[in-house]
């Protein structure tokens, strides 16, 4: 017990004394978050700039514009020149252009159900992620209008929850992804690098010569890393809260539960890499080989649904996809742990599977 405590303490001391590693592992996610958040999230509040060209100028079209203006995430710019705004869209100054063609009001008044009116919305395909969010915001407004026009009485309450979820800004999407990324890189890359270097330098061998049990050593590693990760995640969340007003809507316990699961799963993968890597020099590239695809495909920066169809099955099994999704659901939507049972099970599966493989590949020397 005392050796567990002292080993944990020793590992924490090593972390804290290695100022450079401590600084950069924390600075990277924060800088990334602030940069992406400021550029794509457009600072505090509004994230999508769209232009609306009202060619109809009827009561109904004004209603639609009003409906869209209600959404704070959508900043509307009125224009009468469609060509102008379309070229702005191409340059990336705008995320969306919505045109309300002549005849919109009349058509809506007529209420032709068989042939719904088509509202053209232009978006720039080079900015997929943002366009998706914007399109949904517009969809949402249009949806409200269509429901009103047919005096639709909502019978399913979740509909309003859907509206709330779509109020999300990119930064809301980004922060849980950044936390997931941090957990992945600190644990997978961190464990792989540290363990393989300790092995190379004979540190592990020396400990093997004592009565210390491997399980105590690993338990202390997990505890120390979990404490450090928890702290780093808190700092990132605090910065996100201070800079962008991000809150955790769900339970903190659920967040902590997933941070723990993620830490353990990625540590286990890190132990596998440390087992496979013959030298500390090769551990880095192997960890990089795994972490880069996960960063870009795993829903850290972009929603997974934007990924090409053929990649979907592959993307769906990545542990980081489920970690970032679970954190996102908890923080943004306020999902409970039970809602996220599937994610917990998949992460748990990775944890157990990786642990079993690690116990076969792990070498003290």
């Amino acid at each position: 017990m005392r050796s567990y405590y002292l080993l944990t303490l020793a590992q924490l001391r090593i972390f804290l004394r290695n100022r450079q590693v401590l600084f950069w592992t924390l600075a990277f996610p924060i800088v990334l978050m602030v940069m992406l958040g400021s550029f794509l999230g457009n600072g505090n509040g509004v994230s999508i700039t769209a232009a609306v060209v009202d060619q109809d100028r009827s009561e109904q079209s004004k209603n639609l514009v009003k409906e869209m203006e209600k959404n704070e995430a959508l900043s509307l710019e009125k224009s009468s020149n469609e060509k102008d705004v379309l070229s702005q869209l191409k340059q990336g100054d705008l995320t969306l252009v919505i045109t309300i063609p002549k005849g919109y009001g009349e058509n809506l008044y007529a209420g032709n159900k068989a042939d719904p009116f088509k509202l053209p919305v232009y978006y720039n395909e080079t900015n997929m992620a943002m366009s998706q969010v914007g399109l949904q915001l517009v969809d949402n407004a249009v949806d409200t209008i269509s429901k009103k026009s047919v005096s639709y009485e909502p019978v399913v309450i979740t509909e309003s929850k859907g509206v709330e979820a779509l109020n999300l800004r990119y930064i809301d999407f980004l922060v849980p992804g950044i936390v997931a990324m941090m957990i992945m890189s600190n644990n997978m890359n961190g464990v792989a690098g540290q363990i393989s270097s300790w092995r190379e330098r004979g540190i592990l061998r020396r400990m093997q010569g004592t009565t210390l049990k491997a399980s105590t050593f690993i338990a202390a590693q997990i505890t120390a890393r979990f404490m450090l990760n928890g702290l780093q995640a808190m700092i990132v969340l605090a910065v996100a809260w201070a800079a962008f007003g991000i809150e955790v809507r769900g339970s903190w316990l659920t967040v902590i539960a997933f941070v723990t699961l993620g830490t353990l799963a990625f540590m286990a993968i890190g132990f596998i890499i440390a087992g496979i890597a013959k030298t500390p020099e090769s551990a880095g590239p192997i960890a990089g080989f795994l972490s880069f695809p996960m960063l870009f495909l795993g829903g850290v920066f972009f929603p997974i649904r934007d990924m090409p169809e053929f990649l979907q099955p592959f993307v769906q099994i990545l542990p980081i996809a489920h970690l970032s999704h679970a954190l996102r659901e908890t923080m943004n939507v306020g999902a409970s742990f039970l809602d996220l049972g599937m994610e917990a099970m998949i992460l748990g599966g990775w944890l157990i599977g990786a642990f079993i493989v690690a116990s076969f590949t792990f070498k003290w020397e």
């Binding site: 050796s3 020793a10 090593i14 004394r17 004979g202 020396r206 400990m207 010569g209 004592t210 009565t211």
Partner: protein, 308 residues
Amino acid sequence: METQQEIIKVEKLVKRYGDFTAVDGSEFSVHNGEVFGLLGPNGAGKTTTLEMLVGLRKPDEGTAIVGGFDITKELDKVKEVIGVQLQSTTLFELLTVDEILHLYGSFYSEHISIPELIDDMLLTEKKNSRIKGLSGGQKQRLAIALALVHDPQIIFLDEPTTGLDPQARRTLWDIILRLKERGKTVVLTTHYMDEAHVLCDRIAIMDQGKLIALDTPSELVRNLQSDSAVEFKFNDEVDIALSEIDGVKQVGSQKDVHILYTDDLQETLTSLIAIASEKQLKLVDLQTRTATLEDVFIHMTGRRLREG
């Protein structure tokens, strides 16, 4: 000797790496309270033998009883009674001397007073320094302190003085001799002759995985049956019967260096020079010395302990 109590008994230890046999059936025993040396060149199997005794490598055949416990069956108990200092181990560089000793102390059910241990190992001044900043000698003393932290009966030291300056080596020798005074059994490996001679009560000479001699240092030298060695080179390759030089008892030659062992240095030298003059050969690097363990090794294997 017969009154000595056996504390380590090695029985036919074999370790193979593929086709290569690193340790080939070593058999010896170590007595309680002695300093026992494993001597041999690099690759002789000293370190492999030692690592099997401390449980870091599994022997392919044979076993050993260390401190009353079988290394293949009761390794946990063996680890409690032994202390280990491994070759070229690094430690957590960012921890301090005091912290790492407490950490290693916690790995055992009991440990001795850390401040006293630090004083004993002459590390008092460096108590709160990080390991990173210690000198080679200080690091080595710390490694030995870590081996002693749980007050073991038997201490294994793998090349404790390799890479140290002469001053640091002597400090370490004093420490090892003090351990012996306290009744500890020390097993060490070395490829330094002088070190083995000063420290060890008995020496096992290993070469190519085999134990080739085991005795006290003075007895090993005495078995050479010669007091002095004459070492020299010829400037040309020649073929003369060196054993026919007056007084020569044995000839040890390797590459172009020739060594003659003799009890009568003057007679041998005179004769050697006469022969050289007669055959018009030039003697290079001629030196004479008393026979040492190095000569025992050369005599037994035809090679030097440290090549080059």
